[in-house]
């Protein structure tokens, strides 16, 4: 009877052999707004990475800037006529366009690095807690719960007040703020996944526990982590901007978008709107596009998980 059961599989070449990844991508692009968000995001990441090559000026090079060019309106040229400032200049005579490119680089860098490190740390701790269970788990999770019950901004505020300014410090603060989130997410995910029958099946096949954990359970938790971490990158960037705005984040010489906005804040009403406005726009576009992508990823990745 085995013969007539084999033909039960419908011949549907469209679905054949396509990886989950490709499918997810296809599905992702069905939403045009999200696709636009992704394109913009990729563009911004590219621009940020290439900032040193495409920026008309290196805003960190004190030799190349001159306060005589300070506060020039968008479209002006420098007093020696060498550069034209599309988006104007700040008080130090830095080209805002270049500053934004470099600022984008720092904002994205801080957001991505802190999120990644927090993700790794959180994932390891969460996985460990779920794996070991018992008292260790209970203690870790209490700590996690506690940390999560405090608003991120408050925790970051305290940390930065204690740590001081600096890229490393703010990254550290953002990591400390975020790790618990991942630890909890991955732990609960692992616990859910571990209870599923396919894990029992793997156990039953006498596969070693570690292999089950890493090659069966973990991959099934990743989509969720991807979604969370995308959205978290956006909120890390926003948080960094807010902290910088409050004067607690980046040092003045390494302006992230948030700090650029903050630096221009006092000039906002004075008519020098561009010093604050354009970095603000860049920040907005960046965060909105990340969130658009994250939102769509949630739609695309999650139903498959639930199935």
């Amino acid at each position: 009877m085995a013969e007539n059961t084999t033909e039960a599989i419908p011949q549907d070449p469209a679905v054949q052999d396509e990886s989950l990844f490709l499918q997810a991508i296809k599905e992702f692009f069905e939403n045009r707004v999200a696709a636009l968000g992704l394109v913009i995001l990729i563009f911004m990441v590219g621009v940020a990475l290439l900032a040193p090559y495409i920026a008309p000026q290196n805003p960190y090079d004190l030799m190349s800037i001159d306060i005589m060019d300070g506060k020039l309106a968008p479209g002006s040229t420098s007093f020696d006529g060498s550069i034209s400032y599309w988006l104007g200049t700040d008080t130090q005579g830095r080209d805002m366009f270049s500053s934004i490119l470099y600022g984008l680089r720092i904002s994205l860098g801080v957001g991505v690095v802190s999120t990644m490190v927090a993700l790794v740390i959180g994932a390891i701790i969460g996985l460990w807690a779920a794996y070991v269970g018992g008292k260790t788990d209970a203690i870790i999770m209490r700590i996690v719960d506690l940390q999560l019950s405090f608003p991120a901004i408050l925790v970051a505020l305290i940390l930065l007040a204690i740590l001081g300014k600096g890229v490393d410090k703010i990254i550290l603060a953002l990591i400390l703020v975020q790790w618990a989130y991942y630890a909890r997410a991955i732990r609960s995910n692992v616990l859910v996944e571990r209870g599923k029958e396919y894990v029992e099946a793997a156990k039953c096949l006498a596969l070693p526990q570690r292999r089950i954990m890493f090659s069966h359970v973990l991959p099934n938790c990743t989509p969720e982590l991807i979604v969370i971490s995308t959205v978290k990158v956006a909120s890390a960037i926003a948080l960094e901007a807010t902290l910088s705005f409050l004067g607690l984040g980046m040092p003045i010489t390494e302006p992230s978008l948030g700090l650029l906005i903050s630096n221009g804040f006092k000039y906002l009403q004075s008519g020098y709107y561009w010093i604050s406005f354009y970095p603000g726009v860049a920040l907005l576009i960046l965060i909105v596009s990340i969130n658009l992508v994250g939102d769509r990823l949630r739609d695309v990745l999650n139903p498959r998980l639930k199935r």
Binding site: S149, T242, L268
Partner: protein, 324 residues
């Protein structure tokens, strides 16, 4: 219930202790407040006297011990800057922050939930889609930036609303509030809106997700099959189920509203405790910083407790203290 309370209280005690210790040590390492506070032309003798007066010459552990002893009696020490009990200085400003946070929450609920309902029920309609787009925007806009824009638009350009401060207050049950006078209300609108924006988006999303999830449920179909009018199906059956996550999440978020008030208060010169603590960090006024944190943390703990109790009331399936 009893076990739940015991668990909570013991946890809270540990948190408060660890928190105070961390901040104590942290502030100690940032610097000496006297460096900032003292008149720059003061003599070293005067400097030494000030340091001694404020007890800053004692070893750190001794200072902490003194603090702990006081704290157990409800005395967090005198503010270095204000020379008044830190607790009093903060409690003076607490009503302003709470009023701001409550108003913001109210705005978030009043706008967020109906919009979320619409977005959930008309998910594929342009209205629903646009509400969702708005909510992404609301999610993304950093609070401080929105605050600036609000001031520029509504106070500077249109000159409709005051740009900062609290305006007139009247006493309500011994607490100064500003929402009872027109002037006070005018001062309240912008900062509250600013603070509410993020939570509104959150409320929209939560409600929408809830509506979409619950509308699929069999009990909705069953309610319809009973012949109930749609208003009751949505207004009672669906609503009550949605309210569970919305109330709990928003309740938890109330804590973060208080924390985010730091930003809004700074921008709108709102005389709350958030602004106070930013200023205090600036001058290393340790008693205020520590007292602020202990008070906010206690507030979070109480809020979380209330939320948990509320949750167990709203959702009959849940017993107090169970994990969700």
């Amino acid at each position: 219930m009893l076990a739940f309370l015991i668990r909570r209280i013991s946890q809270s005690a540990v948190v408060l202790l660890v928190m105070s210790l961390l901040v104590f040590v942290g502030v100690f390492y940032i610097g000496n407040p006297i460096d900032i506070l003292i008149a720059p032309d003061a003599s070293p003798a005067e400097y030494a006297r000030a340091v001694h007066d404020l007890g800053l010459d004692k070893p750190l552990w001794e200072q902490y011990g003194i603090f702990l002893k006081g704290a157990l009696h409800g005395d967090f020490g005198n503010s270095f800057v204000y020379n008044e009990p830190a607790l009093k200085v903060i409690l003076d400003r607490l009503p302003a922050t709470l009023e701001l946070a409550f108003t913001a929450m109210l705005i978030a609920v009043i706008f967020g939930i109906p919009l979320g309902m619409v977005a959930g029920m008309k998910a594929n309609h342009w209205i629903g889609r646009n509400i969702m787009r708005f909510s992404i925007l609301g999610f993304s806009l950093p609070t401080f930036w929105v605050g600036l824009m609000l001031i520029i638009i509504f106070s500077v350009h249109l000159n409709w609303l005051p740009s900062g401060g609290r305006g007139e207050t009247v006493m309500l049950l011994g607490i100064p509030v500003s929402f009872l006078t027109l002037g006070g209300l005018a001062h309240l609108i912008l900062p509250a809106t600013n603070l509410a924006l993020f939570k509104t988006s959150l409320a929209i999303r939560l409600t929408r997700a809830g509506v979409q999830e619950n509308m699929q449920m069999d009990y909705v179909k069953f309610a319809r099959a009973k012949g109930l009018p749609e208003t009751r199906v949505i207004g009672l059956h669906v609503m009550k189920n949605i309210m569970i996550p919305v109330v709990t999440v928003l309740g938890m978020e109330f804590g973060s509203l208080i924390a985010f008030a730091v930003v809004t208060e700074t921008i709108f010169a709102w005389p709350g405790m958030g602004k106070l603590v930013i200023d205090s960090i600036g001058v290393l006024d340790r008693p205020i910083i520590v007292a602020y944190l202990l008070i906010t943390v206690t507030m979070f703990i109480i809020i979380n407790l209330i939320v948990d109790i509320l949750y167990s009331i709203l959702d009959p399936r849940v017993r107090l203290g169970q994990e969700r």
